[in-house]
Subunit: 228 residues, 4 copies
DNA sequence: GATGAATGAGGGTTCATTCAT
DNA sequence: TATGAATGAACCCTCATTCAT
């Protein structure tokens, strides 16, 4: 925001404040692009080292920026972390019972697969969340009511199945927590799986299809349901 | 420069060049007592804030010591953390198939209960371990071979059951990981359970007996076994 | 934990992504100027108090910087000391037998004068080196092979003189060490000379010309050579 | 001075405060013996690491004592260092012109040999002194007047020789400084000699007899004197 | 916007010295 | 005297953040 060294237009490529001439608000685009790079870098670093363990220096380097440059875009490490966490949590929601599925077995199988997909596709996000929980969850303020309501919806569906005799009685909350735990495990504890179940080559010990199949079977059996 | 050993007292009992014969001098025990206090404080802090997030200051304060006083007892933060981790991992092992149990259902039920007991009784230890995994597990050197062999033993037992037709075919490694995930979850994600499944008072939403019962039932069903 | 590189600027000239064409931006030179100030300050402090006795605080203060500011420019006390030592040793070499001199007496006289010049002009460098020797010379790794080869060259020249009957037989290595000792003495033991040989005013007891003359005469006589 | 844990005499070997019964003041002897051990340890450490680089811990360990034990015998690191320095400097004096020697060549040869003997026999003392000089000589208060007078005596003798035509004119102070430098060099710069003049085995490159002979010859020649 | 430089706070660790027993 | 423990000062270094250009 401070004045540039030379305020008169130079001969080099002009600064991007020529708004109306070239496309719609190019600097807005640029800012968004840079922000996206920063977000990606921050997710990687926070996932690997946690909030306190991550230095702004590390984020800046990974994003290809200098430290002051980074601070131009973000308001501060902790605030940025909070925003980032909020935003990744928003994208985590999924529909428990999509309209095209009706049978409990299909819905649960779909749910397990969706959760596993997230764990396999976005393990960093999962790890950031787990770290946040371990840290006390102080940055999850608005998340809890949403999550609570969202889970309650699922619980209601399951309890409906139980009431209709489609499933034996069980604690629906615990069932959902169990599914959460088993799926998230493939993101957070990937290291342990490699070390304990792997063949020593460092390759992931289970491929995704196997995991989906085994876990679906296990959950459906555990709920007294038979696979479709 | 030349590293010079500190005058830190060693762990072995000091040579009691016994001058007096009136029982063990009380201050001889002081070192062990202080070490126990430090360990407890460190477990609490490391569990809450992780290795990098924990300051020796915080450990010292929680233990009622000054920072240099703490360094009189420990050799350095990282080294102390590594020792601590090693020692808490030692106490984690349990017997998968105790001699007095023979039926798969009993063995699995016993296993689930034991894992849950650990999660409920020592949640801080569980959290330290989870953090260590998320951080890359660089301090778990000697743990992996042991854990690997130990799990392999359990896997062999389960595969024996499957071979004898006592259980439907399934991936034994994944089964054990699932049990691990669901039990450990009650330590690491206690916060989430309170927020999402609780009644809003902050009280734990499930009592231990309920959890043990529900989880046992779920696992046994998932393994095609009926409860005793 | 994972070591993360600092954002310290490197020594190479930064990429001048030249925006303005009005000469070299003055602040581009600032880094070199500051580094020169730091080097001077560090030489003074290390010379006075040695590696362990010098605090980064002291270097920073003498250089007119704060302590963290100093660490913005250097990588660490010991590493910086090692680099500094290396670099000052580089500038120490001199030619023993320059082409325009042929007679042993001239060569030796020239050598004595050159050594004395260094002792009088850079006593701090000499003191740093002496301290390093006393400390065990652990930072002189690459220096020894060079110095050894370099001295061997001089020894060969002297032995050639002896073989040709220009000088009486003597141990050339010891002769060179003696010259080294006597010249270096005027840097390292300047204090002793003032206290013991001075007139009590604190002024240096010998002027350089006297020292050069007396020492040259002494060495040449000691080698059985007459002055030109 | 504080009371012992149990003041009544125990069954073990009684503490040495039985004064009158066994020999003359045994505890005085013991104190002297301990002090001698401490002095030896301190000389070794100070010689190797300097005043600031030496920890009381290191001295205590080398002396076989604990740190508080050491502090019972000494008044403080710096004060003890000052006393130690003073006392070792006292033992350094030697007679320049013993009565049985009259000829300048003999006196100088004797002086060179005596200085070299000290350098070879007590290199640690020499190094401590050199460090002290480099540090500014603040602990040498009473030494300078003595040394000055002592050297002045030697200078007078030499000037007498010159006046009587036994030696060519030269600056006697500088001559003595040169001898000092060349002899002390064999203590302070032993490392450099090994590295530069040695055969690579780490063995000292010159034996004492060679050094004495070469240096004596060099000095006598340099003074225009022929060997006896 | 982008860069080199600066700053204040804090973190881990060592050490000389002293206390209590 | 001798020992374990304590203390306060200092030291090296890192980091988030800001300033000036």
């Amino acid at each position: 925001m401070t004045a540039r060294p030379n305020d008169r237009p130079s001969d080099d490529t002009p600064p991007d404040n020529g708004r109306a001439t070239r496309g719609p608000r190019p600097e807005r685009q640029s800012r968004k692009r840079v922000m996206a790079v920063i977000r990606e870098a921050a997710i990687a670093e926070f996932s690997l080292h946690g909030l306190k363990g991550t230095s702004t220096q590390a984020i800046a380097e990974r994003a290809g920026l200098t430290k002051p440059q980074l601070h131009y875009y973000i308001s501060g490490k902790e605030a940025f972390y909070a925003e980032l966490l909020q935003s990744v949590m928003m994208a985590w929601k999924l529909e428990f019972a999509p309209a095209h599925l009706t049978r409990p077995a299909d819905i649960l199988a779909n749910y397990v697969r969706a959760k596993l997909d997230h764990a396999f596709d976005h393990p960093e996000v999962s790890r950031i969340f787990t770290r946040e929980i371990l840290d006390g969850g102080h940055n999850l303020g608005h998340y809890w009511p949403n999550a609570r309501a969202w889970v309650q919806g699922e619980v209601d569906v399951i309890n409906g199945w139980i009431a209709r005799g489609l499933m034996p009685p069980m604690n629906a909350h615990l069932l959902l927590m169990n599914i959460w735990a088993m799926t998230q495990h493939h993101a957070d504890f990937a290291l342990q799986m490699r070390e304990i179940c792997g063949d020593g080559t460092g390759a992931p010990p289970f491929d995704r299809a196997t995991v989906v199949h085994e876990l679906t079977t296990f959950v459906l059996r555990g709920c007294g349901l038979s696979h479709s």
